[in-house]
């Protein structure tokens, strides 16, 4: 008992204000359904509260550790390998040149180099492909939003028992392979004289990524409280105002997550431009694939994918900053 009370004293030691800030911070890092930022526990209920909290912490660890380990093992480490590869020389027949001179032939390119980066920034050809890819990805995302919004709204406003069927229909195309569906577009677009044009690439991209926009939008729209719309109607708002002032602002998180799910995969997609695109339709994905398969220049391919990751991160950062500054205004 003595030990316990001393611990509880130690926990109570920081000033109430500080501990409140700390617990609020914790609540933000680990959001939990029960409010954590309650005032410091009273002496009487301290023990049960602490046990409960320890239990909670344990649960948090149990829940967050596996994804953390997974992401470290399958995202962070491979990414660091890619970063390391971008500073190496390409191997003679693909792969990487040896790191240590004694393992390779003397006088050959071994060790680390900035050559690949110099090569990339030395001419505008690659930047042009990056810009073009971002334009295609942006256009695809925009069209996906325009097409997906009415569908998601329709599903969200349908009677409950019909919704599941409609969601099932949205994800039904995944039942067949991506390449088969793209090949089907070859048959459709051929007679329309659209095959092997930039339009075909955008059509293919929109088609493949549309469900990734519909689903997050639907999950968002489904949660809207109809009472809000009724209240607005009672106050005299017409249909358009109700949509624009209530539904749309509330659905922004759905639009953002859908956009991320569409924009980023489009940048890496190489099958669609290759099958549907014409002679000028090369995107970053094709460029990276080419370095690894046709050209066997792993460092260049690694560097290009790092550049792509950085560009996407920069864009995401920019969007987050814009959203925050707007929220600040409001």
């Amino acid at each position: 008992m003595r030990g316990c009370s001393s611990v509880s004293e130690a926990e109570k030691a920081p000033s109430p204000a500080l501990s409140r800030t700390l617990s609020r911070l914790r609540a933000r890092v680990f959001p939990s359904p029960t409010p954590v930022d309650s005032p410091a526990p009273l002496a009487g209920e301290g023990r049960g509260e602490r046990a409960r909290r320890r239990q909670q912490d344990l649960t948090k660890w149990a829940i967050t550790t596996p994804p953390f380990v997974f992401l470290t093992a399958f995202f962070l480490l491979p990414f660091l390998l890619v970063v390391a590869a971008s500073f190496r020389y390409p191997g003679e027949f693909g792969g990487l040149a040896p790191l240590l001179p004694l393992l390779g032939a003397p006088g050959k390119d071994v060790g680390l180099t900035l050559e690949t980066y110099r090569f990339f920034f030395g001419d505008l050809t690659y930047a042009e492909i990056f810009i073009r890819s971002f334009l295609v990805a942006g256009l695809t995302t925009l069209i996906c939003i325009l097409l997906a919004y009415p569908v998601a709204l329709l599903i969200a406003r349908s009677p409950k028992k019909r919704r599941d069927l409609m969601v099932l229909l949205v994800i039904l195309p995944f039942a067949s392979n991506l390449l088969i569906r793209v090949y089907a577009w070859i048959i459709i677009l051929g007679p329309l004289n659209l095959l092997y044009t930039p339009y075909a690439v955008v059509i293919g991209m929109v088609y493949v990524h549309l469900p990734f926009m519909v689903l997050p939008l639907y999950t968002n729209l489904e949660k809207h409280d109809p009472a809000l719309l009724e209240a607005a109607q009672d106050l005299g708002a017409n249909g358009w105002t109700r949509f624009w002032r209530i539904t749309f602002p509330l659905s922004l998180p759905g639009i953002f997550s859908g956009s991320a799910l569409v924009f980023i995969p489009v940048l890496g997609m190489f099958a669609i431009p290759e099958l549907l695109g014409g002679t000028g339709d090369i995107l970053v994905g094709n460029l990276i694939k080419e370095q690894f398969l046709d050209n066997r220049d792993w460092p260049l391919g690694s560097m290009l994918s790092i550049m792509l990751t950085l560009a996407v991160l920069a864009l995401a950062g920019l969007a987050a900053w814009a959203a925050r500054s707007r929220r600040g205004e409001a």
Binding site: G94, I129, N295
Partner: protein, 373 residues
């Protein structure tokens, strides 16, 4: 009592589920044991898709009383990458010349025991002793393709265009009549190689100034092409969407047969341009880590037999380096100079050799420029 009956049904259901499950497990274990007991007599091939006919495979299995297991790749690079990543268990690989060279340099191949391969005498002298394999120490040539021009015979006759020159896919004066009806390979070595050949250079030439000329040639011709295509041109030619395609002889043969089978109102032809072309020879080699070199050599000797060797030509229209196979090959295939280049034409064919990393990078940038412009 009434309450009990559904439970009992559920009980029996569960029991029957378990019994089915157990029975399935037994079958699975049994088949696993069975396959393990036969495991020592399996030959593993890592090979291009659709490169050995089922009948040939069956015949070999009967002959050696073993099993033939095939894994497929669609690209030399894919195979090299998988082996580099440590794939083992393959006895035989079927790389193209430049990939044989890569494998030899990596010490990934086992030398052939020629005493066990008397059939090597069947190989035509011009396919023996290739640069990638002096004295056939490591490889047995199996089949080859020529990268050439396939075309819609009927349409080109109508337009009065020549069919035996690379000018058809490079010169605007011809391309004007073919705008949007031409595909070229999406491969920098193949397409740049064709341009180099058209310009009268060697494809092994590393002079950047010559490659620059080739690049300019491609950029000038590009607006007339429909797309870069490595496989869809077979179908596009066969249904008439595309009139001229740069591609492999065996693919052109397939497009020709498909168009025939579908009774199209036109015919597909293909010919080696008179300036020359790229030749790709695929070879059987023994992987260093292969567990059964004995079976593998048996297989190679089996495939050197004329009748067995002929299958690959009859099946996919590939060229055949085996002299003993010629009598067994269908005459329309054996007599096609685009599939079986006559000796004087063979001299104009060049094989692609790998460039060093620096040249590859320079070439890749030119290729990217071609794509962007």
């Amino acid at each position: 009592m009434k309450n009990l009956s559904p439970q009992r049904t559920r009980g029996t259901q569960r029991k029957s589920f378990y019994s089915v499950f157990l029975r399935a497990l037994c079958v699975l274990c049994g088949s696993l044991l069975f396959s393990l007991s036969r495991a020592d007599d399996v030959l593993h091939l890592y090979i291009w898709n659709n490169y050995i006919s089922d009948q040939t495979a069956q015949r070999f299995e009967d002959y050696c009383r073993c099993r033939l297991k095939q894994d497929y790749y669609s690209d030399n690079e894919e195979m090299l990458a998988k082996l580099d990543a440590g794939a083992v268990g393959y006895d035989i690989l079927v790389p193209t010349g430049n990939a044989v060279e890569a494998l030899v340099r990596r010490n990934a191949l086992r030398p052939l025991d020629k005493a066990k391969l008397p059939g090597l005498k069947n190989i035509k002298p011009e396919y023996r002793n290739a640069w990638y394999n002096p004295g056939n120490r490591y490889s047995v040539p199996y089949a080859y393709t020529v990268t050439l021009i396939g075309y819609n015979k009927t349409k080109l006759k109508e337009l009065n265009l020549p069919t035996d020159t690379w000018a058809l896919i490079f010169e605007p004066k011809y391309l004007e009549k073919l705008k949007g009806r031409v595909t070229v390979l999406n491969s920098q070595r193949e397409l740049m190689g064709a341009a180099m050949i058209y310009l009268g250079y060697d494809i092994q030439d590393r002079d950047p100034a010559k490659w620059e000329q080739a690049k300019e040639l491609l950029i000038r011709a590009k607006p007339y092409w429909a797309t870069f295509s490595n496989s869809t041109y077979i179908k596009d030619l066969a249904i008439g969407n595309i009139w001229v395609a740069h591609g492999y002889s065996n693919d052109m043969y397939r497009a020709q047969q498909d168009a025939l089978a579908a009774r199209r109102p036109f015919a597909i032809g293909f010919a080696t341009p008179r300036e020359g072309a790229v030749l790709a020879v695929d070879n059987f080699v023994l992987h260093q880590a292969g567990p059964r070199p004995d079976l593998a050599q048996k297989f190679m000797e089996f495939m050197l037999d004329g009748q067995n060797a002929a299958d690959v030509s009859n099946l996919i229209g590939a060229g055949n380096p085996n002299a003993a196979a010629i009598p067994y090959i269908r005459s329309d295939i054996a007599g096609n100079p685009a599939i079986f280049p006559p000796p004087e034409e063979l001299k104009r064919l060049q094989m692609i050799r790998d460039f060093d990393a620096k040249s590859r990078r320079t070439l890749s940038r030119m290729w990217t420029e071609v794509k962007v412009k």
